[in-house]
Amino acid sequence: MTTIQPIASELEPHPDVALVARVRGGDVSAYDTLVRKYERQIFRIAQHITQNREDAEDVMQDAFLKAYEKLEQFQGNSKFYTWLVRIAVNESLMRLRKRRTGKMVSIDEDIETEEGSVPRDLADWAPDPEQNYNQAELAEILRKTIQGLPQGFRVVFVLRDVEGLSTEETAETLGLSVPAVKSRLLRARLQLRERLSRYFRKKTGPRDMGVEK
């Protein structure tokens, strides 16, 4: 008989809890494990926000060092990863601020746009559209497309859809309300979809667009 793997129950402690406890007890090797586990995600998040490789490297280092220093302040009522992401998001925004010589930078920047709230490009995509591009071309398309999103939408999309945080965790991390995260996520998804359509749409005549069905 097939057994279905149970989803980790609320009562079962997350494996990070034990690692954090070991670090607090002075075991630096446990922190090494945590860094290895999350360094790629933290680097990606930093790169998405700063859009600069050097800054992302600095943010990644600073975020892990700050988390280590502040570990005593970590309450354990959120996941270690979510707490770490919050530090990385703040470090990234600080880094952006520095680059823009003190100009205020917030995740609310540039979001007053109506673009993408109503889908316009309704052409269907090719069945496996990414296969029309090689890996490097595809990565470039995906980078360019997401970089064009307003910061406040991009961060929500990255945390929620790419890094897999829940809506509530994303809200907590960014200091936003749950409805605000939901509204930004929908608009981010629709804007990305609209922009990717330029590359991925089916190459067919107008009468095959399937508008009427």
């Binding site: 630096v28 922190y31 090494d32 860094v35 290895r36 360094e39 790629r40 680097f43 990606r44 790169q47 998405h48 992302a56 490297e57 990644m60 280092q61 892990f64 060092l65 280590y68 220093e69 109503v118 889908p119 309704l122 052409a123 269907d124 995509w125 559209p129 990414e130 595809l138 990565a139 995906l142 980078r143 997401i146 999309f157 859809d161 790419v162 939901k182 996520l185 929908l186 998804r189 629709l190 990305l192 979809r193 990717l196 359509s197 991925f200 399937g210 508008v211 009427e212 069905k213």
Partner: protein, 78 residues
């Protein structure tokens, strides 16, 4: 159900956070509306593509270097 109502629930449909009744209503709309079907499928695909492609890769050599730097500072007490 109108397209606007469908769009308002698009994320919930994609994230599978709706009741079976609402799902059935949304699916009924999808069967009739080519526009919304395209929006639904391509939005889902958008998320899937971003999830499955590493666009900011951290090369192993750089990863090792950064890792070593972090751990060296932590061992010194930061």
């Amino acid at each position: 159900m109108t397209c606007t109502e469908f769009l308002a629930l698009l994320d919930d449909l994609i994230d599978d956070s709706i009741s079976p009744e609402t799902r059935a209503e949304l699916q009924q709309h999808l069967h009739k509306c080519g526009h919304c079907e395209v929006v639904f499928n391509t939005t889902r695909k958008t998320i899937e593509i971003y999830r499955s492609h590493e666009i900011y890769d951290l090369p192993p050599s750089l990863r090792d270097r950064l890792h070593a730097a972090i751990m060296a500072r932590c061992k010194k007490g930061c």
